[in-house]
């Protein structure tokens, strides 16, 4: 395998700040808290009608993206990688955003123009 090659990489690796145990449990707490908020919205706020489902869905997606940020940035260590790697792994999702917009518009069009099934 590749043991011989990464003597330099091993050195470079030491330059990253490692994640301390304290930080790990902190991120775990944040992820858990966000999930609890989602449950609170799903089981209490929405059934009581304090919020429209549209607003609820937007909040859900926002909280999901926040959770994704914490997992990718801290657990997957991307926050401590070089900018080039961060960019190549995140900017690529512009294609997915395009795909989402494209297909949701298509779906909305079908709802308007197809008979009820």
């Amino acid at each position: 395998m590749s043991e011989h090659i990464h003597t330099t990489d091993g050195h470079a690796h030491g330059e990253h700040e490692g994640l301390t145990k304290k930080k790990i449990w902190q991120v775990f707490g944040i992820l858990l808290l966000i999930t609890v908020i989602e449950f609170f919205i799903a089981l209490w706020v929405l059934p009581h009608g304090y919020m429209s489902h549209m607003v609820g869905n937007i909040i859900y997606i926002g909280l999901t993206l926040l959770k994704a940020f914490y997992i990718v940035a801290y657990f997957m260590h991307l926050k401590y990688e070089k900018l080039g790697l961060q960019m190549s792994l995140t900017v690529t999702f512009i294609f997915i955003i395009y795909f989402i917009v494209l297909l949701l518009i298509e779906g909305g069009y079908l709802q308007l123009h197809m008979p009820f099934q």
Partner: protein, 235 residues
């Protein structure tokens, strides 16, 4: 300064060759780009789910479809079981990070302990998913199968649609199945890494980079679940 050392100087910038510009080991970069392609696959499935949902006037209400805790109650507990599953997966992600952290300190014993915890978490999640799937099968859901028309009203809070129910069932089993397959693969990889750690392979190698690479995959599985959870169970 002679011309030779000038040439050497030219080669010292990150992208001029002869070094790793991102300071990331080869296998780790490859794992990242594999995960990027995998993220595209999952995105495609979830975007198709969204498009189907947008195209239907009505859709099964997740609070009504998922309200059982297998073995405890058949109804009246929306989101509780999937909440437990989510907690298990987040928890096993944490034990994986702790294994990576122990690997940085070359502490073989701690890596073994946290890897065992991660494998247990993976099996627990798969067990929960098996229970949930079999519960839905018993209710009549499946690939190409939905409960009898007269029972469908139990799963809708508004108008009832057989087409929407069918799309929901197909996409639910396909997407959670594909995710479950990833969890299973991750557990297999974790077991292999655990055995290699116990055998002392990484100790002799002097670093625990393999634990980090498999850890990336494991966190990705957790990441996908975060999205599946939102789009299938919450929205």
């Amino acid at each position: 300064m002679d011309s030779l050392s000038q040439l050497d100087q030219v080669k010292t910038t990150p992208w001029s060759g002869g070094r790793s510009p991102w300071s990331v080991e080869y296998g780790k970069i490859m794992m990242w780009f594999f995960l990027l392609s995998d993220a595209f696959t999952f995105s495609a499935l979830l975007v198709y789910y969204g498009a189907q949902r947008f195209s239907k006037f009505t859709w099964p209400d997740p609070d009504l479809v998922f309200q059982s805790i297998p073995g405890l109650t058949d109804s009246g507990a929306p989101l509780v079981f999937v909440g437990i599953m989510t907690f298990i997966l987040i928890m096993s992600s944490v034990t994986m990070v702790l294994a990576v952290e122990a690997g940085h300190r070359n502490s073989k014993k701690e890596v073994i302990g946290w890897m065992i915890a991660t494998v247990i978490g993976g099996f627990m999640f798969l067990g929960c998913q098996a229970l949930e799937w079999s519960h839905l099968f018993h209710e009549g859901f499946g690939w190409g199968e939905i409960p009898a028309a007269e029972h469908l009203e139990h799963f809708f809070s508004g108008e009832v649609s057989t087409v929407a129910t069918q799309q929901f069932a197909n996409l639910f089993f396909t997407i959670t199945g594909f995710h479950g397959f990833h969890v299973f693969t991750g557990v297999v990889l974790n077991v292999i890494i655990l055995c290699m750690t116990i055998a002392g392979v990484f100790e002799r190698r002097g670093h625990y980079l393999m634990v980090e690479k498999v850890g990336l995959y494991w966190h990705f599985v957790d990441l996908v679940w975060v999205f599946v959870f939102t789009f299938f169970y919450l929205i």
